[in-house]
Symmetry: C2
Subunit: 306 residues, 2 copies
Amino acid sequence: MLKDIVRTKTYQNVITQSSFLIKDKIVLDVGAGTGILSLFCAKAGAKHVYAIECSQMADMAKEIVNTNGYSNVITVIKGKVEEIELPVPKVDVIISEWMGYFLLFENMLNTVLYARDKWLAEDGVVLPDRCSLHLTAIEDADYKEDKIEFWNNVYGFDMSCIKKQAMMEPLVDTVDANQIVTNCQLLKTMDISKMTSGDASFTVPFKLTAERNDYIHALVAYFNVSFTKCHKLMGFSTGPKSKATHWKQTVLYLEDVITICEGETLTGSMTVSNNKKNPRDIDIKLKYLLNGQRSQVSRTQFYKMR
Amino acid sequence: MLKDIVRTKTYQNVITQSSFLIKDKIVLDVGAGTGILSLFCAKAGAKHVYAIECSQMADMAKEIVNTNGYSNVITVIKGKVEEIELPVPKVDVIISEWMGYFLLFENMLNTVLYARDKWLAEDGVVLPDRCSLHLTAIEDADYKEDKIEFWNNVYGFDMSCIKKQAMMEPLVDTVDANQIVTNCQLLKTMDISKMTSGDASFTVPFKLTAERNDYIHALVAYFNVSFTKCHKLMGFSTGPKSKATHWKQTVLYLEDVITICEGETLTGSMTVSNNKKNPRDIDIKLKYLLNGQRSQVSRTQFYKMR
C-alpha cells in the first residue's frame, strides 16, 4: 500500500506543507499500519503521536519507530480503537488512511468517527476531512463478455447461475478514461469532521448525460479525498481520469446493454447501506431509467460488496 | 480458476481422450468447486460421479449439474472429505485438482490421500497420479530492488525490519524465461497413487549449473503434473518456459547476490515441511553453496509460505 504513490505522497505533502496543523500538536493515527503517517507527523514537529494499529503490523511499527529514532515522540498502541485507552484525554489532530474500495468498503470510517467523538478536542482537525463519491457510465463490451457472459458456456456447460452472482459483485478494476460515455456526477459529499456513521447510508439521485453515441455496459463509482484545512486545498481523486491508485474504480455491470445517443440522459438513484448481517459488507441498490430514441430501459439492480 | 486454460483443458483432454479410464466407472471428485471435472466425467460416460465440495460453491455446483441435465449421474455432496459419508463403499477413480502454489501450499494433497486410502478400489486410478517439483535460478535485479530493497528507504524512513519479513515470504509470480541463469533441476517426484502424507515433507539436494555469466538473485521452484494412466502421457508444467498458469512460479529471494560464471555450480539442499502450528503453511529451508571464481557464498535461509 505504501507503493501507492498518489496516496502516500498526498499525505506526505499535506503533513509537510501544512506543518502549522501538526507542529507542537498531539496527533492520533487511526489504523497506523507501518506507522508511515505517524513518522511524517513526528518529522513535521508533532508534540506527540499515538499510533493505533490492531494487527501484527503494530510490532513492526514499533521497531520502525525505534529504528528511525522517534520512540520519544511516537507511541504505538497495539489494539482496537474501540478497546484501547489513550494516555491523554484529548488530541488536536486525527489522521487516518481509512478509505476502502468504493470509499466505504470494510467500514473503517466508523472507527475514525468513534475516535473523533471520543478524543478529538473541540477545535481539533480530522485529516482528511472531506470525501466525495462520484458516478459515471462506461462502454465495456469486451470485459463484460469476458467476466460475465463467460459463464453461459464454460467448456460446453451452462454455468449461468454463477453469472447471476458475478453480476451482483461490483468489480474493483481500472477503467480506461476512453471508455467513459457520459459526464461524471457528484453523488454524495461527506464531512468527516461532522458526519455521523448513519450518514454513510444514503439514497442519492443521479442524472448522467451521454457525451457521444455509444453503449453503456456498466456504471462506475469512484471517490475523491480532500484536506480542506491546509493552506491551499489538497487531495486526490481515484477517478478514471486521474493517476491510478490501488483503489482503482468500482464497476457495476448492468443487466441491460443500453444504447444511448449523445445528449440523452440516464437517470436513477443509488442506495448505499451496510449489510445488516455483515456490517463490513456494503449493499448497493441501483435504479436506472432511459427513455431514449433507440433504447428504453427501467430496472432495479442489487449489488453486494464483500 | 476455470479461466486457467492450461489446467482445465488438460483435465478435459485427459478425461475425453482417455474415456477408457472413466466410462462406466464410479468417480470421486475431491474438492469439486463448480463441478467442472465431474461434468467432464459424466459426459465421458461415468457410471456415477460423487462430487465433494465443502464451500458454498457446492450449492452452485448442484444447480449447474441440474441445469446441464446430469443430476442422475452426478451427486454433489456438501461437506469435508474427512466428515462426509459416501453412498458406495469403493470408487474406481479419484479425480482432483488439489495442487496449490509451490504444489503443496494449502495442503489439499492430504485430503486426496485420505480419500484414496478410504474409498479407492484396489485397482483404482488417481488422476493426476504423478507430480514433480523443480528448481532453477534467475537474475532478478530490478524486481528484487523493487520488492525487497524498497524497505531500506520508504519516503525517507528506514523500514528494513519489514525487508527481513519480505525476504522470508516466497513470492508467487510469473518469471520470464530469459531471466533463467542455470539449468532446471528435478527435485522430487511424488506418486499420488502410492505416497503417504509424510512423503510431502522432505530434504532433497540440488546442483544448478550456470549456462551463462550472470548474477543470481533468487531460486525459482515450480511443478509438473502428469497423468500416466492415459493412453499416452499427458500433463502440464507450471515452469517459466511453459505457458503461464494461475500457479505462476514460486520465487525465493536470496540474501546474497551471487556472481556466477558459465559452468560453475550452485549446490545445496531444500527442506520442505508443513508448519507445526499451521499445517496449511509450508516451511522451506534452503542451504546453498558456491565456490566460484568471483563469488563465494555459503548460507542457510528460511522461508514460510502462508
